[in-house]
Amino acid sequence: MKNVISISVGEVALKKGKRNFFEKKLLGKIKAATRDLGSPNVYRELGKMYVEVNEDNIDKVINRVKKVFGLVHLSPAYKIEKNLDSIKVNSLKALKEAIKKRKIRTFKVDCKRADKKFPVNSMEVAREVGAYILQNTEDLKVDIHNPDIYVYVDIRQKVYIYTEKIYGYGGLPLGTNGKGLLLLSGGIDSPVAGFMIAKRGVSIEAVHYHSYPFTSERAEEKVKDLAKIISMYTGEIKLYSVNILNIQKAINKYCPPSEMTIISRRFMTKIAESIANINNIDCIITGENLGQVASQTMKSLNVTNSSVNIPILRPLIGFNKTEIIEIAKDIETFETSILPFEDCCSVFLPKHPVTSPELRDIEESEKVLDVEGLIEDAINKMKITTISI
């Protein structure tokens, strides 16, 4: 019976002077991700991490731990006594278990001896275990170049045996790289953008703009559902919901129709900057992409950037839509994103938005608006919810 999950950490192990700091962070994240599954014991051992589990909840724990950023792969493993006999018996057992699940003709034993005090070296262990497996099975051969399965023997303070590697998302533990404010719409792109930046160790909060009653309450529910899915990777998310109807009305009334989208965009970015400043957030994250829609041109991005001083991270900038969809499906936000409720009413969408706005023109148009007042009012009325799984 597999009784432990063996976890390999990636970049975290490479951070020389800060390794201990990163490992401790990661350990905390793994603990947090599994707290409601009976708080399994999580511990470090010579650069690897282990979660003790029992067989009935091993799949659940793996599914949770897999979503913790900073780990490269994880393996359900046997934690066993440190002697050669035990290694042989359990290696055979692990291999036989794998044979039940799929067709296996060739194998290779891969031994690592981190504990050099163990009397048998890794080459010898591999040879002995290989021979033992051959003696006790039929129709199996060793293939050291391209085997159907590897039997891993990991000799540390204890010995761990496993045959399977489940890939995690890599990256860095959350909170090791500051905090970002994600502009979260109901679409496909923004949840992916949030995921990608969070993967690099950035904690996430989110802001959502709506124009109720020009948009439906269901659109807001959809955004909350998306935030919930993202929170499986990032932990609890603080969601700021801002109604920008008055802003849109004002733009609609006083500015050229073709500039509706870009001026709204500048307002949203400015509001995000204010929220970020109040809450000690270091950057804004958007799902913007070059050329996907008429408003996402280089010039538009520039005009938007000029409205604020805070850095704006756009991790999807060079992605194709199909590539974004692929990630959205992988992180399980896609199905929710394609639900029909829109967070922007078509009433406010101009037929012909400007595609190459000039900063001077836009600033001139904005002069008739009480920009500060409108932003302050929107922020005063915003609602804050905490979203978690």
């Binding site: 009653p213 020009f214 948009t215 439906s216 309450e217 009305k249 009334k253 078509s346 009433v347």
Partner: protein
């Protein structure tokens, strides 16, 4: 002020209905098929309920079958009649504005090779009898029409439909979806020669999840649901006893109050229409003055968006319905309004108001006041 004007979607259950159902849930929870006393007690209650309903409809109690609601009633009747009579022909007539629970069954049969005629409707949602006469053929086995349309409230001339069936010596059965008609307009199933008739409890202040199907005794119909042979094998499955008792209680009240309630709704609707016309310009009323049910009125407020207006009214605690979503894609608009030949600007700005006896003139005055403000507000934004 809270005003619920979405009574075509569903209605508030009457207190008396809830009280009766509570007894079934708390005490008389026996299975009517059980042989012991608890079963018998509930069996008797159901029998009494069936009697109340058959008496209200002027039909025999043996002709009443309990179902899970309107959709299931339509399915059992339409599929059951087609399956039993497909050797006689493969042509079915319906209209373009039927409920999806009728249209989607027939689309399914169309894929299986049946010929389906979808009758056109005029600008008020009423079928063309001349077209019906032309389309009625020797191999027509079924005519399925609704008595009252759920979106605009139009009443179909079903007596004339039956007359044409008879005059043409057609053997076609007449199935009627009466879900929006029950309790709202006068009709006589027997006199009209209706072969099967569907209705639902939650449209008449009863509970959700229960409905009825009238099937004329002697009608050639096959079962499409198989199981323990409840409801004479037409609708197997343990009876929804609280639902059935709730439904019969709702009908018992209709029996005593129904006529005055119809009059009340009619007055309310006319009052509403007059007030809207008085206060708001540039509208199109999509419901006919005559030949329409007393509880539904559909109005387009030109240069607004139905869904936006709906959400504005919702913020005033007023609840209505729209036939189209807030989208530039016109394929999401109401197929009923489209079939009536409305222009896109009329379809996307259409709102359905549907009334019940719980609405008052004071509520209407409040709604008109808010409606006027909200329509102006939206037009102010949209007409720039």
């Amino acid at each position: 002020m809270f005003v619920y004007l979405d009574n075509s979607a569903t209605t508030k259950p009457r207190d008396e209905v809830i009280d009766e159902m509570n007894i079934l849930l708390r005490e008389d929870y026996g299975n009517p098929s059980s042989l012991h006393r608890m079963g018998l007690k509930v069996e008797k209650k159901i029998k009494r309920g069936r009697d109340i309903i058959s008496k209200y409809l002027n039909v025999k109690s043996s002709e009443i079958y309990f179902t899970s609601g309107g959709t299931e009633s339509n399915n059992i009747a339409i599929q059951g009649i087609i399956e039993a009579n497909k050797n006689k022909g493969n042509h079915i007539i319906t209209s373009k504005i039927e409920h999806p629970s009728v249209l989607n069954i027939l689309k399914n049969y169309e894929q299986k090779g049946f010929k389906i005629t979808y009758l056109d409707v005029d600008e008020y949602g009423i079928i063309d009898l001349n077209q019906f006469k032309d389309e009625l053929l020797e191999d027509t086995i079924l005519v399925s029409l609704m008595m009252v349309n759920n979106e605009v409230g139009s009443i179909q001339p079903l007596e004339k439909v039956k007359e044409i069936i008879n005059n043409n010596k057609s053997n076609a059965y007449l199935h009627v979806d009466g879900i929006q008609a029950l309790g709202k307009i006068d009709f006589n199933i027997k006199k009209m020669g209706i072969d099967s008739f569907s209705f639902s409890a939650h449209k008449i202040h009863g509970p959700k999840g229960v409905g009825c199907l009238y099937i004329r005794d002697g009608l050639n119909i096959k079962s499409i649901i198989f199981g323990g042979e409840q409801e004479k094998g037409i609708r197997s499955g343990t009876e929804n006893t609280p639902g059935i008792i709730g439904l019969s209680k709702a009908i018992e009240i209709l029996n005593s109050e129904g006529n005055s309630e119809k009059k009340y709704l009619d007055d309310l609707k006319n009052y509403f229409i007059e007030k809207v016309k008085e206060n708001i310009s540039d509208i199109k009323i999509n419901t006919a003055y005559i030949n329409s049910a007393p509880h539904i009125v559909n109005i387009s407020f030109i240069n607004t968006k139905g869904e936006v207006l709906l959400h504005f009214l919702e913020s005033d605690d007023i609840y209505v319905s729209t036939g189209s979503a807030c989208s530039s894609k016109d394929d999401r608009g109401s197929y009923v309004l489209k079939s009536m030949g409305l222009k896109n600007v009329e379809i996307e700005s259409a709102i359905r108001f549907s009334f019940s006896i719980y609405n008052t003139k004071e509520q209407i005055d409040y709604v008109i006041k808010k409606l006027k403000l909200r329509v102006e507000e939206i037009r102010d934004i949209m007409m720039r």
